[in-house]
């Protein structure tokens, strides 16, 4: 991204029917074929790739879960050996939390931000592509351990000393550590990209009180990630050094502290679990009003609730460690903080219910997903409150009650809104509607399967079943409930299957959808579906939160959607000032580039070198990375990165 001189005059295009602008399409279109695939920086392609890859990992994690549920369907089963079960539950946790939950929301945000903000692309298109490529390679890097039978087996939390060299000498844990460090790079660059895009690439007039709540959610998640991911990267580097180079950070014999890992991990862990739900809350706050035929109730309280949840989220990590023998005063402080964090969630919950109550809800499939999410969110929330109370957590922690809580929170707050989001934005992404009839079946099998599967976990948790056990003895009262959970899980899996069928069928035979099939209020519905490469023919000027509903809301402001900056002298988009989004600069955006893929591959070689303990490969990786960066940052005249010869 680079800034040209400000005084270039901007041309205003005339009113009239919005058609595909051949000229702009030619400038912004990604090259066809494999070259385009490997070098594309179009935020829309990257967004869809993120979502598709995340769903592949969701299915992988789901299959792992189903196998585990078979092993736990009854007491003393021998379907899986302990080592196999331990590898499976670790991979299930790692995949779902790191390779599905975060990336799928990055996918939505990547796709929607420029469209919501009225811009032609993210602030750093190539960085965006890098973020995806590294995510893909990190996932492949981790799953390479699966066929070799050396997958990580110390849980997604990977506590030493069990994950140390003495008790886990194989490569299993090195796959975990290096995979997490590698993925951390993708998360960090993505977060930086979102932050700068929010500050500089908003359409003129879109002051910060006119941002869609999804933007607020992803912004908060990105700031949270920027601050939290370094903690887990540091922890992984320290443990890797302990395992390979004989340092003693966690080695008890040399005064190392196993709890150091837990603190570092959960300082990242809790902000991370908010980072993977806040964008989903944003999806609900943006999509639900469309089906209630009225703007969201309490925009400002919900926006502030989103931000305050993350802020308090940095001060509660100890509730994952209540039973480690902490002094009572710190237990009390963190318990109080963990209970108080639910108040912002209450604000959002009542805002959504008020929106439905005072609106005229239209019961489409996305509405079912988005409204049923509220009850799952509340169930997950209150069970979270129960674990937040310290003395009660002494009983609850590490039992299946916590497993129930985390599934209600993660599936309830992430998967259901994502499903609703896909039904809502599928027409915009592909130009076709998803089938409502199949959607209903999909919703009900998922909703009932989920509740039948995961609600009994609360009960078996209250009956004392510990987490992460590959089998259990008969006569403890756990058998029937585990069987119900297994059946529920398979029903939920059938629901996911129906969703995939609906997806593939609608891709070809879905009803063609126009620019605004749901009559939504925000900018993304003002462009054709599927969205042309250049997003907006003219950069719109925004005057309210609901540009497409201004007439019907009888609000005096009028956004101008068809009169704005044309910016068609090459790949250009508008940079606006931070607070009030006044036009500031015209940005020359970089085109398709192999730089991101090359850099990702370079880093990939480095990490493969590290896992194989082979010096030469690691050095080759470092050199390849350096070359890729050089190639990437080579100054291009088109982007104004080469000084013009001085006019005498």
């Amino acid at each position: 991204m680079s800034a040209t001189e400000e005084n270039r005059t901007t041309r205003i295009v005339r009113e009239g029917e919005v058609t595909i602008d051949r000229h702009l399409e030619a400038i912004w279109k990604t090259r066809p074929g494999l070259r385009g695939v490997l070098s594309s920086v179009d935020h829309k392609r990257i967004g869809i790739r993120y979502i598709v890859t995340a769903f592949v990992f969701l299915i992988a994690g789901g299959v792992e879960a189903l196998i585990m549920r078979l092993q736990l369907a009854h007491s003393d089963l021998k379907i899986l050996s302990p080592e196999a079960y331990n590898q499976l539950f670790t991979m299930h946790g790692f995949t779902m939390i790191f390779l599905y939950a975060g990336p799928v929301l990055s996918g939505f945000s990547n796709y929607l931000w420029p469209l919501l903000l009225g811009s032609r692309d993210m602030a750093f298109p190539r960085l965006n592509a890098l973020s995806y490529w590294i995510f893909l390679l990190a996932g492949i890097f981790l799953y390479a351990s699966f066929p070799l039978g050396v997958s990580p087996d110390a849980g997604w939390f990977n506590y030493p000393p069990l994950s140390g060299k003495d008790y886990n000498p194989g490569p299993n844990i090195d796959f975990y550590l290096l995979g997490l460090i590698f993925l951390g790079i993708s998360t960090t660059v993505g977060a930086a990209n979102f932050l700068v895009s929010l500050l500089r690439t908003r359409a003129p007039g879109m002051s910060i009180n006119r941002l869609p709540i999804l933007v607020w959610g992803t912004l908060t998640a990105s700031v949270g990630n920027l601050l939290a991911v370094p903690a887990v990267t540091l922890a992984c580097v320290l443990l890797f050094a302990d395992r390979q180079f004989g340092t003693h950070f966690f080695d008890v014999e040399a005064h190392g502290q196993p709890l150091l890992w837990q603190h570092l991990f959960w300082m990242f862990g809790h902000p991370w679990v908010y980072a993977i739900v806040l964008p989903a809350l944003g999806i609900v706050s943006d999509a639900l009003p469309t089906f209630c035929r009225r703007p969201l109730v309490g925009y400002t309280p919900v926006a502030l609730a989103t931000v305050s949840t993350m802020i308090v989220g940095f001060g509660v990590w100890l509730h994952h460690m209540f039973a480690t023998g902490m002094p009572v005063l710190s237990l009390a402080f963190f318990s109080a903080a963990s209970l108080v964090i639910t108040i912002p969630s209450a604000v959002s919950t009542f805002a959504w219910i008020a929106t439905i109550w005072t609106g005229k809800p239209v019961l489409t499939t996305p509405f079912l997903f988005l409204s049923s999410f509220i009850i799952l969110f509340v169930i997950g929330g209150v069970s979270g409150v129960m674990t937040g109370a310290v003395p009660l957590d002494f009983q609850l922690t590490d039992t299946y009650f916590v497993v129930a809580h985390l599934h209600y929170v993660l599936i309830g707050i992430n998967v259901f809104p994502v499903m609703g989001g896909i039904y809502y934005w599928f027409p915009k992404m592909t130009g076709r509607m998803m089938s409502e009839r199949l959607g209903r079946w999909n919703f009900w099998t998922m909703f009932l399967g989920f509740n039948i599967g995961f609600f009994p976990m609360h009960i078996v948790g209250l009956m004392g079943m510990p987490r992460r056990i590959y089998t259990y003895a008969p006569g403890l009262g756990w058998d029937t409930i585990n069987l119900i959970t297994t059946l529920g899980s398979f029903a939920f899996a059938v629901g996911i299957l129906l969703f995939l069928i609906n997806l593939t069928v609608s891709l070809r035979r879905g009803i063609p959808a126009g620019a605004n099939p749901w009559d939504g209020p925000t900018l993304e519905w003002s462009v054709p579906s599927p969205v042309p490469a250049y997003n907006f023919a003219v950069i719109p000027v925004v005057a309210s939160r609901h540009p497409l509903w201004e007439e019907r809301l009888e609000s005096p402001e009028r956004s101008s959607l068809s009169r704005g900056y044309l910016l068609n002298h090459g790949r250009e988009t508008l940079a606006t000032t931070v607070l009030d989004a006044e036009p500031d600069l015209i940005l020359e955006m970089p085109g398709d580039s192999y730089g991101p893929l090359a850099l990702a591959l370079g880093l990939g070689v480095l990490f493969v070198g590290l896992i194989l303990h082979s010096g030469p490969w690691a050095v080759i990786g470092i050199l390849a990375t350096a070359l890729a960066i050089l190639f990437w940052l080579w100054p291009q005249r088109r982007l104004g990165q080469i000084a013009e010869p001085h006019h005498v």
Partner: protein, 338 residues
């Protein structure tokens, strides 16, 4: 839409009932000691409040959805309602929630204060050292002579607090007897202090609740609350040494034991002094084998000695390739260690 409320309601209520009334071995909604009872009432309070909140929100949501839903069909022809109104919901909803929450916070803090310290000075200390996949327990008395080591199954006197000193030896474990007290992690490099007390006679089961490797699932412990007299009897029996057997067949079993098992197990009174495995001096006074994996009867004892890996794969009890007569002899000898 209405059937959604019915469905999740009908799933909720019966299961909760099962957990509550029938005392499930590992359940903690019905507890038997001052370290757990205050927490149980707190737990019931939370369950009540949470169930109430869920029902309120579900009914509000259902009502909101059904009340003014637009007919099916294109969304465009449904007029846009004006943006005003609805803020009251947020103020009232959040206000009520916050008040309820603060009440729960205060109750939580009182409960925490109630269980943080034992009511009185502890009768004695049990030093619990967690190993990969069994519990070593050492009863410490002021007179060192009454100090002895046992494994997996503890006994405590009725109505007296007992201090637990939890010392990690390899990886992190977590000691938990749901009926008597919350869990406390056992972390290498540090000593955690906890306490338990039983107000009702009986045996209470527990299980390791911090993932600790292959056999995390088979690492159970139990606490039996005895009357003061029974407890004194039990303690003095435990510190007595094993007498060398009279019968000739047992003597053969003892020599096989000393040849093949003494490097890992201790039987006080014989030359066997290994501490890699549990102390077997009074193994037959314990009800289970392999930290609760098998009941302690002759058939399971023979199966365990013959091939422990089949029962608890990955545990450190090796498969001794001994001829059958030796296995039977040593099994018979072990059964004399009451």
């Amino acid at each position: 839409m209405s059937d959604r409320l019915r469905r999740c309601g009908c799933v909720l209520v019966p299961l909760l009932g099962v957990a509550a009334c029938g005392h499930v071995p590992m359940g903690y909604l019905h507890t038997f000691g001052p370290a757990a009872d205050p927490v149980t009432s707190l737990g019931w309070g939370f369950i009540a409040v949470c169930t109430l909140v869920i029902l309120i929100i579900a009914s509000l949501l259902l009502a909101a959805t059904l009340r003014a839903r637009a007919p099916q069909g294109a969304l465009a022809n449904v007029p846009i309602a004006q943006p005003g109104g609805g803020l009251r919901w947020i103020y009232i909803g959040t206000g009520v929630s916050t008040v309820a929450l603060l009440g729960l916070v205060v109750w939580t803090m009182f409960t925490l204060a109630a269980i943080a310290q034992p009511p009185g000075p502890p009768a004695f200390t049990i030093e619990i050292r967690a190993h990969q996949w069994w519990w070593e327990a050492r009863y410490i008395d002021d007179e060192p002579e009454r100090t002895f080591v046992t494994a997996n199954e503890l006994h405590i006197p009725l109505g007296k607090p007992v201090q637990l000193r939890l010392i990690g030896d390899d990886v992190i474990h977590s000691f938990w007897i749901p009926a008597l007290a919350g869990k406390t992690d056992v972390i290498p490099g540090q000593t955690n202090i906890a306490w338990i007390e039983g107000n009702t006679l009986g045996t209470y089961r527990g299980q390791c609740t911090e993932y600790c490797g292959a056999q995390h699932a088979h690492m159970t412990e139990s606490v039996t609350v005895d009357s003061a007299a029974d407890f004194k009897l039990w303690w003095s029996h435990q510190i007595s040494a094993a007498s060398s057997p009279a019968a000739d067949s047992m003597r053969q079993g003892e020599s096989v034991f000393l040849a093949h098992c003494a490097a890992c197990h201790t039987v006080r009174g014989t030359g066997a002094g290994g501490i890699v495995g549990p102390d077997l001096t009074h193994i037959m006074s314990r009800h289970t084998l392999g930290a609760g994996t098998l009941p302690n009867d002759s058939e399971h004892l023979s199966a365990w000695i013959t091939n422990a890996q089949a029962v608890k794969p990955g545990c450190r009890m090796p498969t001794l390739d001994l001829p059958r007569p030796d296995l039977d002899a040593v099994t018979a000898y072990v059964q004399t260690l009451h």
